[in-house]
């Protein structure tokens, strides 16, 4: 399969801490790829480097064959890289529906000063909210949602821009089992329709169950990239999590 997202020799230091070291890997088109590793391994930093929330010290990010390093996050979103956050960042003072459509703000006069919600956007937003099961909250302020519902909101909002790949940062974190089941079912459904997922997750059962391929990071470096089976049977992965015995 073709590689849709390719990261080469990515480096990032914060002060004296080398958070991401010569990271290289590829995410295959149409796959569900997971990025795992102990706390502090640099997983979220890699996400932040990919969609340029923080600037890499060196290295390149290629998306569908073109170099997208250094492009502003909103440009990457337009190009088809969607992303959610580990700690949900819904816009609490805005309604659920406004959270859904805010990303479609363009730079042209028409798209800037036209109505804040166009009919076709509302239609699409309601479809997606129904898809994840929170449509009844469309006109509620997002701050009134529970944590798990916010995760679902972020998840559906990221689909609004029609992405090719979605980066999910700990989709299962703090979500109760019934909402999690719903989320996983949606991920599978979208994946079956061709959407690529790149997921940071700590829930190993989920990772091993859902992933086509797993990347393991430790101390800012890629330790291993293989199938869930490969990863589970690899001694180095255990060492990374538990320390060398």
């Amino acid at each position: 399969m073709a590689v849709t997202l390719e990261v080469s020799d990515l480096n990032k230091s914060f002060g004296g801490i080398h958070a991401v070291k010569d990271c290289s890997f590829g995410v295959e088109d149409g796959s569900i790829t997971s990025l795992i590793g102990p706390n502090g391994a640099g997983k979220t930093t890699v996400f932040n480097l990919i969609n340029h929330v923080i600037r890499p010290d060196s290295g390149t990010v290629r998306f569908e064959g073109r170099d997208v390093t250094g492009k502003m996050p909103h440009r990457l979103t337009r190009l088809g890289i969607g992303r959610t956050f580990q700690v949900t960042r819904t816009l609490g003072d805005m309604t659920v529906l406004e959270n859904m459509v805010v990303g479609s703000s363009g730079t042209g006069v028409r798209s800037m000063f036209g109505s804040r919600m166009l009919d076709h956007e509302v239609e699409r937003a309601m479809e997606l909210l129904e898809f994840v099961g929170i449509a009844e909250y469309a006109y509620t302020n997002a701050e009134a949602l529970s944590y798990g519902q916010r995760k679902l909101l972020e998840f559906s909002a990221v689909l609004m821009s029609g992405p090719q790949i979605v980066l999910l940062d700990e989709p299962a974190g703090g979500v109760n089992p019934s909402l999690l089941t719903r989320m996983v079912a949606r991920i599978r459904e979208l994946n079956a329709n061709g959407l690529t997922f790149f997921i940071v997750e700590h829930n190993m059962d989920l990772v091993m169950d859902i992933s086509d391929s797993v990347i393991v990071m430790a101390h800012g470096e890629v330790l291993l990239h293989g199938s869930p089976d490969d990863v589970q049977s690899d001694r180095r992965v255990l060492d990374a999590y538990l320390g060398k015995v």
Binding site: T77, F85, R89, V102, S105, S146, Q149
Partner: protein
Amino acid sequence: MIEDRADAGGLEPEVVEAVAAPKGPGRSRWGVVAVLLVGLLLLPLSRPFIDSYNYTVLLATNGLMWIALASSWNILGGYSGYISLGHAVFLGVGGYVAAVPLFYYGVSPFLTALAGGLAAVALGLVAGLITLRTRGPAFIISTIALLFMFLLIFENIDYLGGTAGLPLPVVPISRDWLKAPFFYAMLIAAVGSIVLSYQVAHSKFGLGLRAIAEDETKAEVAGVPTRFYKIIAFALSAFWVGVAGAMWGYSLAFVRPTLFFTVAISAQMVLMAIIGGRGTVAGPVIGAVLIVAVNEFSLTQFGSSEINILISGVLLVTVLLFFPLGIVGTLREKRLLPAFLDWD
């Protein structure tokens, strides 16, 4: 707090509202607004009927100017959350752009006021490009720096009259009706800035600005071109301030750097917007009317002292104690806002 609650996944009765879109704007509010507007339009013609005609029209003109300034400031400071203490710069630029052609060539500021606004927009774009690289306190300080830079520059250009500024001729019309043109000009500026503010609030652009105010990184990742939006907001918020500046200098019959380029004028815009309700359309209007009224009251009661500053301070503290989101913001949250003030 809802975060603490175990996630039910389903409906939470106290949270749920009807899925149908909330009620549209009531018709009654436009009635009240129309009556107010007609009243204002007729005010300058009331000369034969009121004794204190000049005083009334002057006070109303002043109020309208501050409505324009506070509403304009709100486009950047209210919607996007970027507090500018440099907006007085635009007032000054507008003032000088109109004053120079009048002083040297006799061109009426009523013809050049628009140019004053456009010059302010151009400056807003450039200043935005530079200052909006920062955020938070650094942004506030960079806008103050902009103000002092302009004070220094304008004080040192002889062509502009240096520190003494330029004296301007009065409008060549009958003394009786001298106040009327300025009143109408400021009315246009006030209505124009409210309409602009309303347009922004109801557009995608405004939605993007609100997202920036809440969480800029999230807004950017969601797809809002944050940097572009902030710069455009800065520029748009300068326009009517520039127009008002052109009119203000002319109405005072002089321009001088220390008249315009002061933090006090900027701070007044901030104060009005915050008291009335930052980020709402009607808030800065209410704030401006309230502050102008309170200032006027204290001037007539206590003379030309600085007691009005003390009173403004007390007012700010009191209002924020009981209306943490400003008068309009808090009333709306409590669903007590009269319909004719709910323009959001």
